[in-house]
């Protein structure tokens, strides 16, 4: 909830928790400009068609894999986890920044979240939807995936609750449910705005149903704000738990390089870092093409870039700590694994990871670069690539270099792996592109909380 605040001294070069939008004058302007972004354009249709084409390539590859068997996917003993598990962890990670921005920053009252949280939240939901596909793609018989869900059955069989795979099912499904609920609840008042402005009777009817008859009464807002707060309070530990649980898939195994207590915080920091990378990849073009620079201001990008820098430093520290653990453990297998990772067989992947995730983000110490959207966009692509390779470096080198030399092997993805990876991007961007032209990509109602309300007696309205 907002209160009309006293004017502050302008500090244009300092990203502040108190958002100020000098170019946004009143509530009507917010309605007009944000609803204006919903008109489809030729560029949008082209992007959507590209996304659907990528998706179809992935679907075709998957059909082929189901027909021919998992062997076409590049699995080769001892590396029996490959691109699908890497991409699963990658997409779950992408899905973390949305809840961080919408829930954790909400609890911390960080004002810069207001302009970017809707976009990040939608990104979260679609990223988790994408991530959820990969464990199913990884199954030899994907139609049996529901065996992981505890449901009453004639054979009285239950899943093994001590298995990290079952933990994953609970964590991911809970995360998907809660994050999509959180997104929808926040959207209801905005859909009511669309309903009230819509002139096409069919669309108006659809919005009326989707807004559930929301009418902005004090009673609705009173319960809404409280419920939103509790959802944020639930989502905060949830977001930290989900990637911790994902990290248990690895940390519970006795494999060198995986069996480490540092994994949960390391994964959570990496997830938030990668998610922030994807937020930049998405929000910077949206800001430009939808002409929303006066909503998503340089101050907002600057503040998000600082978070990105911080999480990069945490991730970098985790990389170095892993080496320190291996060194100080005195365990030869652990030491050999890390040597092989950085100077041996997988050096190329490890150095992509280190350069993209540790070195390049250091540029964000420069305020000039933090406030340069072009650089942030380029950097975000490097971060996305780097974070995919981080998961590659976690999954593949460990399996390819276990205890005994006769167990050692290599791994190379096949065209099926690449096609399905491409398809996952198509799937993700298809949903995202559909979203941004049907529903507001910036929260209309929350923007109105930021803009000072119209007052009869200027200087009044405070409490």
């Amino acid at each position: 909830m907002a209160t009309a605040a006293a004017p502050m001294e302008p500090r244009p070069n300092v990203a502040s928790a108190t958002v100020r939008l000098p170019a946004v004058k009143d509530y009507e302007q917010i309605d007009r400009e944000i609803i204006g972004t919903l008109r489809p354009t030729l560029g949008w249709f082209a992007a959507l068609a590209t996304a659907i084409l990528c998706l179809l390539i992935g679907v075709a590859a998957w059909f082929y894999q189901v027909y021919a068997g998992l062997g076409v996917a590049g699995y080769h003993p001892p590396v029996m986890w490959g691109v699908y598990i890497i991409s699963f962890v990658f997409w779950v990670g992408i899905g973390h920044a949305g809840t961080l921005i919408s829930a954790i920053l909400y609890l911390f009252r960080a004002g810069f979240r207001t302009s970017i949280y809707r976009c990040a939240e939608a990104m979260t939901v679609f990223a988790v939807m994408t991530a959820g596909l990969f464990p199913i793609l990884h199954l030899g018989r994907p139609w049996k995936f529901f065996w992981l869900i505890p449901y009453p059955n004639w054979r009285l069989l239950w899943p093994q609750f001590k298995s990290p795979l079952v933990w994953d099912v609970f964590a991911i499904l809970t995360y998907l449910t809660v994050s999509s609920t959180f997104l929808y609840i926040g959207l209801i008042p905005d859909i009511a705005v669309l309903r009230d402005r819509e002139t096409n009777p069919i669309r108006k009817q659809i919005y009326a149903v989707m807004s559930l008859g929301w009418r902005n009464s004090d009673r609705e807002w009173r319960h809404f704000t409280r419920a939103y707060l509790f959802l944020a309070a639930f989502s905060t530990p949830l977001v930290l738990s989900v990637h911790s649980v994902v990290s248990f898939d690895f940390a519970m195994a006795l494999t060198p390089g995986w069996h480490a207590t540092i994994f949960p915080p390391y994964f959570v920091a990496g997830a938030i870092f990668s998610g922030l990378g994807m937020v930049f990849t998405i929000i910077i073009p949206i800001r430009k093409f939808f002409k929303l620079q006066h909503y998503v201001t340089l101050n907002d990008l600057d503040a998000a870039a600082k978070m990105c820098l911080f999480t990069s430093l945490v991730v970098g520290l985790a990389y170095l700590t892993e080496f320190q653990i291996a060194w100080m453990s005195g365990n030869k297998y652990e030491q050999d694994y890390f040597w092989n990772r950085v100077f041996g067989q997988w050096a190329w992947a490890a150095w992509i990871m280190i350069i993209c995730n540790m070195v390049l983000p250091l540029s964000l110490f420069s305020q000039k670069l933090r406030r340069n959207p072009s650089w942030l966009f380029i950097l975000s692509i490097f971060i996305n690539v780097g974070m995919w390779f981080e998961r590659f470096v976690i999954v593949v080198p460990a399996l390819s270099h276990e205890f005994e030399p006769w167990q050692w092997g290599s791994y190379a993805p096949t065209w099926v792996d690449y096609a399905i990876l491409l398809g996952s991007f198509g799937w993700f961007f298809m949903w995202f592109l559909l979203f941004i032209k049907q529903l507001p990509v910036i929260a209309i109602t929350e923007m109105k909380e930021v803009v000072p309300p119209r007052l009869r007696n200027v200087g009044g309205g405070r409490h």
Partner: protein, 166 residues
Amino acid sequence: MPGLIGAFHELDATVSAIGELRRSRFNELTVYTPTPRHELEHALEAPPSRVRVFTLIGGLAGASFGYWIAVWTSEYWPLVVGGKAIASWVPYTIFGFEVMVLVGSLSTVFAMFALSRVPRLTMTVGYDPRFSGGHFGIWVATSPERAKEAADLLKKHGAVEVRHES
């Protein structure tokens, strides 16, 4: 109950109108606002939302169910491995936690809907599409005898439009 709706353009005018309406014993007020504002909440002196009760009950029920399903299935079909516990609370905390969040969140949303009377199939009398845009609205439910008094009050505080509805 019949009544009248006043539309306002300014927040402080709305707040002062609410204050005077309440002092004049017009207690059945519904305020429409495009965005939640503390000023309006304070002027209405509404009781705190009871959503939290549902959140607490849902959270506790979810945590209990999460632990229970894992413990019960383990005891029902024991997998005895070495000397390890058949039902182990450490990994089962994951289920307790996740189901607590799931059920707690869903019951919070349910409470929000139930307490706000949402979903609503028909628009309430007095609602105006402007109230999701840039206007604030006050619906005063009153008898026809006091309608004029309420209308005068709304106009006095700067209502841009006052309309009788029933």
